[in-house]
């Protein structure tokens, strides 16, 4: 836990390197504060097509199509978005599409908005119910290697994998400011 002093953006940079190494070509997302720098890097990278979605379930379909067309992709979303994708995951499950999801958690560590709590607390359980392999990372230093491992299972072993990035990592905003 020695690297905790690192700034927030560091893990995003490392994760982005991992995504590039995994030859990720499509990054679909519903914007989220925790993913801000990753999204910026994706938009700035000419080899990556960023796809901004209206709802997270669209992302599962986009990445299914990407893989059918020979490209690997990743879906970035907040934990509340997990509650929108369960039915669409049925397709990825049935066809055994590789699927890499990076989920920033809400409703768990120091959450200030009570409305986020039910979905945050249900996130792991519903992903599990949908047959998704779950990796968690609560230490910024471990996120990149976790994503790397997840990308391997996803694309080499043809599985649906979610990396849950703990709210502890993203931090809770100080709402008194």
């Amino acid at each position: 836990m020695a690297t905790k002093k690192k700034k927030k953006t560091d893990w995003s940079k490392e994760v982005f390197k991992v995504l590039k190494k995994a030859d990720i070509r499509q990054i679909a997302y519903v914007p989220d504060a925790g993913h801000t720098s990753l999204i910026k890097m994706a938009v700035a990278d000419n080899a990556i097509k960023p796809v901004s979605l209206t709802s997270e379930q669209e992302g599962i379909a986009v990445l299914s199509g990407a893989w059918l067309g020979g490209e690997a992709g990743a879906l970035l979303m907040q934990s509340s978005g997990v509650g929108n994708v369960i039915n669409m995951l049925g397709m990825a499950n049935e066809c055994r599409f590789p699927l890499l999801m990076l989920v920033t958690m809400r409703g768990e560590w120091g959450e200030f908005n009570p409305w986020q709590v039910p979905m945050g607390q249900a996130t792991e359980t519903v992903l599990d119910a949908a047959g998704v392999i779950i990796h968690r990372a609560d230490d910024p230093a471990e996120i990149a290697e976790t994503v790397e491992a997840a990308a391997k299972i996803a694309f080499d072993s043809g599985r649906m994998v979610a990396v849950l990035i703990g709210q502890r990592v993203v931090g809770f905003k100080d709402w008194t400011k």
């Binding site: 379930q57 509340s80 978005g81 997990v82 509650g83 929108n84 994708v85 369960i86 039915n87 669409m88 995951l89 049925g90 397709m91 499950n93 049935e94 009570p114 409305w115 709590v117 039910p118 979905m119 249900a122 359980t125 519903v126 599990d128 119910a129 949908a130 047959g131």
Partner: protein, 176 residues
């Protein structure tokens, strides 16, 4: 609930009568084969406002509004639709708003469409993860009493309750 011995009896008759007794005034659904008879009865009933949705999560939100506005409603959905509702269900939990949902199962009993199986198998765990109380029923005669119990739990004790109606009853998805 009386004459279930009759050959023409269908559970939707009694459930529709129960809706009337309970004062259900809004019913929302994406059409589904397993619930078609109940939907038809509700549509034909001028005292119930039937609303066709584009996706099931709209119906969860509508039911929240119905209760906030002083009415009772029922969401009718196929099991696949449950997977579209999980995030919206967090409102019912957070605000403790009553929800009565009737879920017609696919991917469960004698399913012939393999793509229905993953979501069908996820339906009950996903509902439970969303803190919805699940009453599973797999005999037609028991549907009305189960819906009745679920409605009491929902509207009198302010809980989200789903009556999961087995594919064994509807027999949908057995073609192909």
């Amino acid at each position: 609930m009386g004459n279930k011995k009759s050959k023409n009896w269908h559970w939707s008759q009694d459930v529709h009568a129960l809706f009337k007794k309970l004062g259900i005034e809004q019913v929302a659904y994406v059409p589904d084969g397993g619930l078609a008879k109940l939907i038809n009865r509700c549509q034909a009933d001028a005292s119930i406002r039937s609303v066709v949705l584009t996706t099931e999560e709209e119906g969860v939100a509508q039911m929240a509004g119905a209760w906030l506005g002083g009415q009772k409603g029922v969401l009718l959905t196929q099991s696949g639709g449950v997977g579209n509702c999980i995030n919206m269900l967090s409102m019912m939990q957070e605000c403790r708003i009553p929800l009565l949902a009737l879920v017609s199962m696919r991917g469960e009993w004698g399913e012939c469409f393999p793509w229905q199986v993953p979501m069908g198998q996820s339906t009950i765990p996903a509902l439970e993860a969303a803190k919805v109380i699940v009453h599973h029923v797999d005999q037609a005669e028991k549907v009305p009493e189960t819906v009745h119990a679920a409605a009491r739990l929902a509207f009198d004790s302010y809980r989200a309750v789903a009556v999961v109606i087995s594919q064994r009853i509807s027999g949908s998805g057995s073609r192909g």
